[in-house]
């Protein structure tokens, strides 16, 4: 059927290659612009917080990075599922390309969360629900990459890590809620590090701008990586 031919038109690495290049370039430019806008709002426009002073500005990196880390994992699992369902090699390549960027954002979320915790709550590591979930998410990313690296045969490596990604994705909500519950049991009524001061609209704008900047950056980085993989494998 004609429609199905068009669906798989870009599933071929050869046709996808130039498209990826074009999209990557535009997203890189967009990311830079949005980052400038977001940093301006976050560092210049947004007022000093009554309770936390200037330190709360870390939120403009921490929260968008955390969002991206979770979003990228879902997209990664999505492409893994597509790869297993349609047996398209490019889908597996996309999943592989997403992992390092996702892991990087997870690390950034953990790093900024830790540095936010020190001046606010006194310790560099706070076992609150989000940070702990992020830590487990980092392990899931690293496990995905480790499994792929441990298998020599490319097809088995792609498919095994794809299945792992899907199993992980199914588990992520379960992990998140169990960690949430665990956190309330052990911390009692103490305030969560991630419960930011009531969101002024300007703070939300800053976070959204940075989130969009990170998102476009991720697309650009991932597509460049896929192009490298296409060159290396084809």
């Amino acid at each position: 059927m004609d429609s199905s031919i068009r669906w798989f038109w870009f599933a071929s690495p050869q046709t996808f290659f130039p498209l990826a290049g074009t999209i990557a370039r535009w997203c890189a430019a967009g990311a830079a612009l949005l980052a400038v806008a977001g940093l301006y709002v976050g560092l210049v426009v947004a007022p000093t917080d009554a309770q936390q002073g200037e330190v709360y500005r870390i939120i403009f990196i921490h929260v968008p990075a955390a969002w991206m880390s979770m979003f990228i994992y879902l997209v990664m699992a999505g492409w893994a599922a597509v790869g297993l369902a349609f047996n398209t090699r490019l889908s597996f390549m996309l999943a592989q390309a997403l992992a390092p960027t996702g892991a990087l954002f997870t690390f950034i979320a953990l790093w900024t969360g830790s540095l936010w915790g020190r001046p606010t709550w006194g310790t560099y590591w706070v076992w609150d629900a989000r940070l702990t979930s992020e830590l487990i998410l980092l392990f899931l990313y690293l496990g995905f990459m480790a499994l792929h690296a441990a298998i020599d045969e490319p097809r088995r490596a792609d498919r095994a890590s794809a299945l792992l990604a899907i199993v992980g994705a199914v588990n992520v909500p379960i992990i998140y809620y169990s960690v949430q519950w665990w956190n309330t049991l052990h911390q009692g009524a103490s305030v969560s590090i991630t419960r930011a001061p009531s969101m002024a609209a300007i703070m939300l704008t800053g976070m959204l701008l940075m989130a969009l900047a990170f998102w476009l950056y991720s697309i650009a980085a991932v597509l460049v990586r896929v192009r490298c993989m296409i060159r290396e494998r084809v």
Binding site: A146, L163, N171, L185
Partner: protein, 222 residues
């Protein structure tokens, strides 16, 4: 189908019986790990009583994980696994049966041994039942989820450690709920919530992991 399952369970149990030392070492590991913690954190009774559920559960996790390597390795080495993939019996049934046998040999004994560990930690008497029940519900989940990891890492170099890296994050909810149940009971708050959730996890795992394990085996054995 039931006949196939029964046959597979019987076979795996027989094989495990012939290699009793393999089974025993995993259980011994459970005891040793649990004994290490007081050596590390000090033997203060109140401290031990408070960390007992967590320690026992972590030890159970690690012991269960160590024994997962055995699940498919022997059959893979002598070609039986290939026959299972090619055979007429649904692969999902076969792997479910293998996971059940694995649990009977590696998980169920933990339920029996745990009270003795709890004794070492001077766990409050009323909590023994909750501890045993939480392990009874949780260890099968560990076997099922672990089997997915074992199937994915079949025959890989560095398999054991890699398996740990893959499977431990997935074990976290079971750990939280299992240890949490005992702690809730200890605080007088009633463990029903956690135990029911553990039961739910067991049902989910029993329903979905055979499919995942079978898929993982096919991927590893192509």
């Amino acid at each position: 189908m039931l006949a196939v399952a029964r046959a597979v369970v019987r076979r795996d149990l027989l094989l495990a019986l012939r290699r009793r030392s393999d089974v025993a070492t995993a259980l011994l590991f459970f005891v040793i790990v649990a004994s290490l913690f007081p050596l590390g954190v000090g033997a203060e009774p109140n401290l031990l009583r408070s960390i007992a559920p967590g320690v026992i559960w972590v030890a159970a996790l690690l012991s269960s994980m160590l024994s997962l390597g055995r699940l498919f390795a022997a059959d893979h080495a002598d070609g039986t696994l290939e026959q299972m993939l090619l055979g007429a019996a649904p692969l999902g049934v076969v792997v479910s049966a293998k996971s059940l046998a694995h649990w009977l040999v590696s998980g169920l004994p933990l339920v029996a041994i745990a009270p003795f560990i709890a004794l070492q930690y001077d766990l409050a008497p009323g909590l023994y039942g909750v501890l045993a029940l939480s392990l009874l519900l949780g260890t099968p989940v560990l076997s099922l989820i672990g089997a997915i990891g074992a199937a994915l890492t079949l025959g890989l170099r560095g398999g054991g450690v890699l398996l740990a890296l893959l499977v431990l994050p997935l074990y976290v909810p079971v750990l939280i709920l299992g240890a949490g149940a005992v702690e809730m009971a200890g605080a007088g708050l009633g463990p029903e919530g956690q135990l029911l959730l553990l039961g739910a996890l067991l049902v989910l795992a029993a329903a979905f992991s055979p499919w995942a394990i079978a898929a993982a085996l096919r991927i590893s054995m192509e």
